[in-house]
């Protein structure tokens, strides 16, 4: 009996050891959504492009698999007492993929290039905390006036406009990556073609077949190459989600960008262990145009409509992939107290009674219902949600709703113009793990404040937060601002996003994180 037990234990440990054995061929196939526009980090725009850039380049800081900040090219740094000057100490063994040494002056050049309006970076706003950045990006000052200095080859000094607690988190954003000056000067617009890119990340570009894939291979010059396992990684252009899903099932793709919502039921039933869901830094909401009737000067109506939406039904029955119902604007972020509306915890009947009361106070009734138009861009999911919301408004309040489906660019233009929109669907994804990336959207001068929300107190709280040195107090300003804004109800938050993807069980070394940032250098392919 004992020998049998021993034999079993031995067998089990052998199995475990076997299951952890690395595959002989370390090649990973990732589905990556639409074709990347350009692999120039300073002009990158889409999430899909940034995914590839994260392997090709490395910023001053980087991220661990769980998303927490770790040193990147900078191995250490200090912050001055006034909280406005960072001094970074760069790794002496940091190199470009062609073997050139990576120095502090490379960062000076790159940050200036990123801020230069001639580069036409979509994300130059990321640099705004740096002193003079706003003036440089708007062309009022030359790029050389950006407050970034290289006292020696391995020391970089960045002076900030004001205290910015999330600044280190911005330093792993593509728009702050270093770029190789000699290649740009030599190849010009072709410097970011696969054959010409010189990067400083764990991988280098080997091949780029437009609309098919980008192939990266291990960069032996990378300072931490000893810890890289995967030799080659394919980023397949998978614009169509259901095609990506089929290629995953056929074993051609190991790791998907997302999953088609229509297949979630099948996935949950048949391959639940391969379905990976985790919170994502984004909120899905309905914006309300405050510059036109019926929402102009009508907070009671806005409130009533928000109360009458049963978010639980939307996240569980309509979408059903683990999204969290939203009763506040800012998603869960460490160190920030979510400003969840008090009524979020109320039973449904109480909420509805309050909704009806506010609706009546706003001057509407079953005999005299308000007419509301919901505008959304073409998508099955947006349509389903709009239908359910219209049904809830009709059933609980008697609201007459009209649904308007628009092609994306037409929809965006109408939202920006604020002339014909009433309620419109929208989503906001954070650029960095800080509540400010959400708060700023409702700042009166924000170009994407399509609600037309203007509240001087809100603006002033944001401005106070922007100059506050004390981290706790800064968070309090942002919390107060959100609370104030939610009282005004310029929009109706509906749910917080989640990342959802399929990953083969033999792809290890990664985990879900709120930014959905994953570095191939941390991943491994097990024998399968």
């Amino acid at each position: 009996m004992r020998s049998l037990f021993l034999a079993l234990t031995l067998l089990l440990s052998c199995t475990t050891a076997w299951s952890q054995t690395l595959a002989r061929e370390q090649v990973l196939h990732k589905g990556n959504g639409p074709e990347p526009e350009a692999l120039d980090p300073h002009r990158a725009e889409g999430v899909n492009t940034s995914n590839i850039l994260r392997d090709l380049f490395e910023g001053l800081t980087s991220e661990a698999p769980d998303g927490h900040l770790i040193p990147g090219v900078a191995q250490s740094w200090e912050l001055s007492e006034d909280g406005k000057t960072y001094t970074f100490h760069l790794r002496e063994n940091a190199r470009w993929s062609n073997g050139d040494a990576l120095t502090a002056s490379d960062f000076v050049y790159s940050l200036q290039r990123s801020a230069d309006p001639a580069t036409a970076s979509n994300y130059s706003s990321i640099l705004e905390p740096i002193e003079n950045a706003a003036e440089v990006t708007t062309g009022k000052l030359p790029p050389s006036r950006l407050a970034v200095f290289a006292p020696d080859a391995h020391t970089l000094v960045i002076r900030l406009r004001a205290v910015t607690p999330y600044f280190l988190g911005l330093l792993n954003h593509a728009s702050t990556y270093p770029v190789h000056r000699p290649s740009i000067e030599k190849y010009g617009a072709r410097a970011f073609r696969a054959e010409n890119i010189v990067g400083n990340g764990a991988y280098k570009a080997t091949e780029w077949v437009v609309q098919s894939h980008v192939l990266l291979s291990r960069n032996r010059q990378y300072w931490d190459d000893a810890h890289t396992t995967i030799e080659r990684v394919y980023y397949h252009a998978t614009e169509d989600l259901s095609s990506e899903f089929k290629r995953y099932r056929a074993g051609e793709i190991d790791w998907t960008e997302s999953v088609p919502v229509t297949q979630v039921r099948w996935i949950r039933k048949n391959i639940p262990q391969e379905f990976r869901v985790s919170p994502y830094l984004g909120v899905y909401y309905y914006g309300l145009n405050l510059t036109q009737p019926p929402f102009k000067n009508n907070p009671k109506l806005r409130r009533a409509l928000s109360l009458a939406i049963d978010r639980e039904v939307i996240v569980k029955k309509v979408i059903g992939t683990g999204e969290l119902p939203a009763y506040s604007w800012v998603p869960p972020i460490p160190g920030y107290k979510q400003q969840t509306a008090e009524w979020g915890a109320w039973p449904r009947e109480k909420r509805l009674a309050e909704a009806r009361r506010l609706y009546a106070e706003a001057g509407y009734s079953a005999a005299n219902p308000v007419e509301v138009e919901i505008r959304y861009n073409t998508s099955e999911d947006h349509k389903k949600i709009a239908l359910v919301i219209a049904a809830m408004w009709k059933q609980y309040l008697g609201v007459k709703t009209r649904l308007v489906n628009q092609e994306f660019k037409v929809f965006l233009r109408d939202r920006t113009q604020k002339k014909i929109t009433q309620a419109f669907r929208s989503g906001w994804i954070g650029d960095f793990n800080d509540p400010y990336t959400f708060s700023e959207l409702l700042y009166s001068k924000n170009g994407r404040n399509d609600m037309g929300y203007v509240n001087v107190n809100y603006d002033s709280l944001l401005e106070q937060a922007a100059t506050e040195i004390d981290a706790t107090r800064r968070m309090q300003y942002l919390e107060q601002a959100e609370h104030l804004m939610l009282e005004d109800q310029p929009m109706i938050p509906l749910y917080f996003y989640v990342n959802k993807r399929l990953a083969k069980p033999y792809v290890v070394g990664w985990q879900g994180n709120i930014m959905d940032h994953h570095y191939t250098k941390n991943m491994k392919v097990l024998a399968h």
């Binding site: 001639a118 979509n122 437009v210 609309q211 614009e239 290629r247 660019k409 920006t416």
Partner: protein, 307 residues
Amino acid sequence: MLRYAFIRLLSAIPALLILITLTFFMMRAAPGGPFDRERDVSPEVRAKLEQAYHLDESLWKQYGRYLTALSQGDLGPSFKYGDRSVNELIAVGFPVSLKIGGLAMLLALLLGGALGIVAALKQNGVIDYGVMTLAMVGISIPNYVFAPLAILLFAVTLGWLPAGGWNDGALSNLVLPVLALAAPQVAYIARLMRGSMIEVLHAPYIRTARAKGLSERVVILRHALRPALLPVLSYLGPASAGIITGSVVIEQIFGIPGIGRYFVTAALNRDYTVVMGVVIFYGVLVILFNFLVDLLYGVLDPRARPQ
């Protein structure tokens, strides 16, 4: 003949000019622009971008600029894929589209033609009914239904063929997209071929040929096939257009790096130059193809030769 060809080619120029003008102004009339995004760019950056692409000029000036560049063969830079020109995108994508499109057309002709002939010869028999039922199914099922079903069966369930990707045009990656693209055309051509073959087989000269004691093989191949091919030939123009529009869907579903998918994605992105480039390119192609078919028609049917 040469004169005819020359006149035909010359008459294509106004057709193309109308196509270019209509596409240019329709594209610009669509609301929204290439730089409208969910995350707005700053006014300064937008101004820089518009200046770089001459969007800050008047529409007529842009139109003139476009025509001038076009006359030199320059289709301009892509708005979406920053550092690539439209010429380059087409140069890279077209060989791929041509490969699947050409193979699909060839398959449609050979298979459709053969099926049509067999059905005609066995008119009202089991084979005829079988082929015609298949043809009806082929015509009725759109390729965006056929393709995913084929992937599910041959790639996911049976694992015989890849579910997508290009892989440098490897044979296994070609099978499903070519089949999906060809299926409706096979069906059309089979029906056309059957109809015209039946008609020809009833013609007096066929009866004469048979009366002379020629074998059935010679009767079909030497006397019936050529006249029976004429309606099929005149269908090749629309068939090429059908394959081009089919490739819009098929390239998307199979993840094939051709230019068909630009038709949709570029229009949605308001990538003006790519839309223009692809429309002009395919416009030229369809006009050329129809022209060739007309010439071929004259070769096959002396009555159709221009006098």
